[in-house]
Symmetry: C2
Subunit: 285 residues, 2 copies
């Protein structure tokens, strides 16, 4: 089995590690425009050898795990280069633009649009970890547009690495993910900015910040190169989530100004059921 | 050694557990207006026996770990009840109001104002955990107003449970903590509210939310009974942090509307140094 991974970062690299464990006979090839990353992936044993887009004709799987703007231009070229039995999947955090980009491609049926809801705030080949996808959800969009035999092949791999499958329309995906992922990133980045700007003497942050701040701001470590094109592609939905978030924060601030502490208590109490929601998430991990 | 803990929740209960481990001869008494909590603390072995405020005259240590509004009225009564060699400390997340409340109390020198920067999003006696304070910072305010011998006694205990000490003015404490703790809580509560309000079908949240959302929203599980009086007491500072946070979010939204993706990239990149700040925190844990 020949697997090509284009973009060997956190997601692509972690998939490579799981595949190498599950399928010892598989050869995993890495393709990366960043020579240093490719060399690092080879040194770490994340991939077995380097390759080029031209080599894809004999691929069983091609995993496209690059920033979402790069994916838009690269996926058509990848589909041009693969063989009839190759299955390509792309793993970005927006799904409508990529589905649209290949909607009329003659090899559309060799492509499956996915979003594995897994990751950390780190990036690059050294961020790759085994078992990252165990118990996580993989959202598959427009599944009916992928050839049935190739769907089966892809599903077998997703299940082997431990993922739960959920099917969604690409636009619904992009709308929902703006709330549960994209907004969290902006909220963390702007929290980090607010605190950094205020605290001229960083030692104050070091000493007074506890695990609560650390948890809330964690996503502000994420890669701007990865996230800028996500916000660009999902602009309309992200702006909507930001407007609602800002409106809720402003309302909370106004309650403080009015000193309506009963309402503040009730606001927090009504959000407390996030406990059950998060527990529901954890049960399924 | 006799230790009285008033309010046996996460902080008081965790202190009790550490004290019982470090000083096997100590007797830890629990005082709690909530009978169920007191019984739970007894059943869990967090405290050895129940007690009343009237019993405090022979106390070596009194730990006041109640919501900050309750502390304001309770601390003067506690100081009235203790003996000359007792040392009382209070552990709330605001320090100026409590210092002010006892500034002219005849037993002011038996009180030490502290804020252990430690905790989780859980509350009640069952949330108590051993070793919670290991490597964490304890902020002490107005240390010069505590009798020197009693300072020494308190510091010995704080060091025994593994805490690093930092001295601060109460007003500076309240200003800084608004940024690194209080704002994080509001940001998490309002993120939770925004997502819950939007997602009528909760299954969508369950399935699509990953560890990033979970981390960012974690503090929204916190107790409204604990946090409402904190926001009330630190109202002016908290409103200021909220205004800056809302302004930063609005500016980010405006960059998206203007499609200025270079500026968005730079915004995120400049906040990325939160990595080093958080690493700095972790080094000291």
């Amino acid at each position: 089995m020949k697997i090509y991974i284009i973009g060997i970062g956190l997601i692509g690299g972690s998939m490579a590690l799981d595949i190498k464990t599950l399928y010892p006979d598989a050869t995993v090839y890495g393709i990366d425009s960043n020579e240093t990353h490719l060399q690092e992936a080879l040194d770490l044993g994340v991939v077995d050898a380097g390759a080029q887009i031209d080599n894809l004709s004999d691929a069983d799987f091609v995993i496209l795990s690059v920033p979402v703007d790069v994916a838009l231009t690269l996926l058509p070229k990848v589909l041009d280069a693969i063989g009839d039995n190759s299955i390509v999947f792309e793993v970005g955090s927006t799904k409508a633009p990529i589905c649209e980009a290949v909607t009329n491609h003659p090899k559309r049926r060799n492509f499956i649009a996915t979003h594995p809801i897994a990751g950390t705030e780190f990036s690059g080949p050294s961020a790759a970890i085994k078992g990252l996808f165990e118990g996580k959800t993989n959202i598959i969009c427009e599944v009916e547009r992928t050839a049935f035999k190739l769907q089966e092949k892809a599903l077998e791999l997703f299940k082997a690495i431990g993922m739960r499958i959920r099917y969604m329309d690409p636009k619904a995906h992009d709308k929902h993910i703006a709330y549960v992922s994209h907004l969290s990133h902006i909220s963390a980045f702007m929290l980090g900015k607010t605190v950094i700007n205020k605290e001229k003497h960083e030692q104050d942050i070091f000493d007074m910040a506890g695990s609560g701040f650390e948890s809330t701001v964690r996503l502000a470590k994420s890669s701007p190169a990865m996230w800028t094109p996500i916000f660009k592609q999902n602009k309309v939905q992200v702006i909507e989530t930001l407007e609602e978030y800002i409106s809720n924060l402003t309302q909370f601030k106004d309650l403080l100004i009015k000193e309506d502490y009963n309402a503040i208590f009730e606001e927090m109490e009504s959000v407390n059921r996030i406990k059950e929601i998060l527990n529901g998430m954890n049960v399924k991990k």
